[in-house]
Amino acid sequence: MRLAIIATLAAAALAAGCATTPEQQAPVSVEERAAKPAPVETKPIARVDLTSKPAAANPLKDPNNILSKRSIYFDFDKYDIKDEFRPQIEAHAKYLRENPGAKMLMQGNADERGSREYNLGLGQRRSDSVKRALTLLGAKDNQIESVSLGEEKPVCTEHAEDCWAKNRRGDMLYNGEY
């Protein structure tokens, strides 16, 4: 069942990739190159293509790529992942599967109401929940460290529900970004 989902996802992600940004398939991420042994003898000519946008070089940073979406939002007192974030989770799981050298720091956050330490616990529940989803989709446990920032790093500082909703958040950071 899980394999079937992964296969479908992989196909879908591949199709999406082809349709929108063909140039992003060629480059390999820095992390991946670092993790693989040096190539033996096949040395294609390294082409410099100034016509492609620099941002496209890294799928994690390409605003057109779902992998550039790193935040997942949660309902009040909840830590289950809402359906709207499934494609994002699936894309990151695929990326982690295909880039075994990639590491992720998953930071969970909470809104400001109540105890700072208890809110640290709520943020941890959220980051654990995302990590669990990613590993169920094939990412390795040792690729992801789930931590909590509790209520300490709000992106929005007004004391109202609009703001609190933005702070009930999980953020995915890849190595090199933290």
Partner: protein, 428 residues
């Protein structure tokens, strides 16, 4: 003496409102709450004190007033100025409505230091309650004044004064986080740590020489122990995942912490040097905010194992937890009074986060604040006051409330958000 105590207790009957701005400091304190009528005390200026710089008697008077139990009387210039060696004219002081009187003097010593002598009198009983002589340098004026206030407070109330103790708190100024240490009156603020990342949950070691806290400087919560003597910092818990909520055992040999290394947030025990990790709780819930009881027998903590966050306790060696709080849907941050008889915690009461006190013997709950975003209650080491963080006008401030809820004080810092207070222990 007994008469004074009786009178002091009698004063605690009625209630009146007072607003007393006190000596300017980086952290300024004002008494804002409804205090009980206070014992009138005269602290006569000590002849020679001008040589010391900051007025030693005005610091003593401010300390005593801040406790909410005393009212400092204005003393007109007297000639000859009385000292601790003078014969006390009790009738005269009685006519000034003083129940208690402090007389003293300051003399320069040949070695460049100073000698401060003082004596405390019960004006009503016409008796000396004792006195002390201190030798000090100019830098020790504040510390000496706090010692004098502690002596007076203890003689007149029967409980130890906390004017010589220190407090820790975190100030957020712009994008900087400062872990500050100050005297209990907010003066002499000194930053122990300054960081661009958050600092939370400072906890004093029982000997008052170290602080354990959580710093986010590594993009995740890590527990440090920081020596205030030499500024040395040791990482105590930096396991995979989050590390937080440090609490010292009463003998200072162990720390309870919350770790997520095995999934979820669970309470673990460590030696104070970070060795000897042992898991104490085993639940699918959030178990956090551990606190040892004063006798070291129990660990109180917050857990949502019953569906909502409530306070539980378990044997300090680990074991079956028992639930302590039952009223309400949100009870967190347990803090035991120094005598172990009362539990302070934060409760969500009609949409407001407030400080509640639970009498552990009769299970009675009393809410003692009227603010709405209270956090991190911290008992003074004599149990008389509780320091807490709250929000007033969108800004974090510290506030203090007497454990009977009567006296309230506000401590504010200009241009900064203050939070995470922790009242330090008695030190020699």
């Amino acid at each position: 003496m007994q008469a004074l105590l009786t009178r002091l207790r009698a004063f605690l009957g009625a209630v009146l409102l007072l607003i007393t701005p006190l000596a300017a400091a980086q952290l300024s304190i004002e008494i804002t709450g409804a205090g009980a009528p206070r014992m009138p005390i005269a602290v006569a200026p000590f002849p020679g004190e001008a040589a010391l710089g900051p007025g030693i008697t005005s610091i003593v008077r401010a300390d005593l007033e801040r406790s909410g139990l005393f009212r400092g009387l204005e003393v007109p210039p007297l000639a000859p100025a009385p000292t601790e060696a003078s014969t006390v004219n009790y009738a005269e002081w009685r006519s000034r409505l003083a129940d208690a009187l402090v007389l003293g003097s300051v003399a320069a010593r040949p070695d460049g230091r100073y000698e401060v002598r003082f004596r405390l009198y019960d004006v009503v009983k016409q008796a000396s309650l004792g006195g002390i002589a201190y030798t000090l340098s100019k830098e020790q004026v504040r510390a000496t004044a706090h010692r004098i206030a502690d002596f007076v407070y203890e003689k007149l109330t029967g409980e130890k004064g906390v004017f010589s103790t220190r407090i820790a708190y975190v100030v957020k100024r712009g994008n900087r986080f400062e872990l500050q240490i100050a005297d209990a009156d907010g003066a002499g603020e000194e930053a122990a740590l300054v960081s661009f990342e958050p600092i939370i949950s400072p906890a004093w070691s029982p000997d008052g020489r170290k602080l354990a806290y959580v710093s986010f400087e590594n993009k995740k919560p890590v527990v440090y122990v920081h020596s205030l003597v030499d500024g040395k910092r040791n990482v105590i818990a930096n396991f995979r995942g989050s590390n937080s909520a440090p609490a010292w055992s009463p003998d200072g040999s162990k720390l309870a912490v919350t770790l997520s290394r095995e999934g979820g947030s669970q309470i673990f025990l460590l030696n104070a040097d970070g060795s000897g990790l042992r898991r104490l709780t085993s639940s699918a819930a959030i178990d956090t905010e551990p606190r040892f009881s004063g006798d070291g027998q129990w660990i109180y903590f917050t857990s949502d194992r019953g569906g909502s966050p409530q306070i539980y306790r378990m044997p300090a060696a680990g074991g079956e937890p028992q639930r302590i709080t039952f009223e309400g849907s949100y009870n967190v941050t347990p803090r035991l009074s120094p005598d172990g008889k009362t539990l302070a915690y934060i409760t969500l009461n009609e949409g407001k986060f407030q400080v509640a006190l639970l009498d552990l013997s009769n299970r009675q709950v009393q809410i003692i604040t009227d603010s709405d975003r209270d956090e991190s209650p911290s008992f003074a080491p004599n149990g008389r006051m509780i320091l807490l963080a709250t929000v007033i006008g969108e800004r974090g401030v510290l506030s203090a409330v007497s454990s009977d809820g009567r006296v309230k004080q506000r401590l504010s810092v200009t241009a900064g958000d203050v939070r995470e207070p922790a009242w330090g222990p008695f030190t020699e």
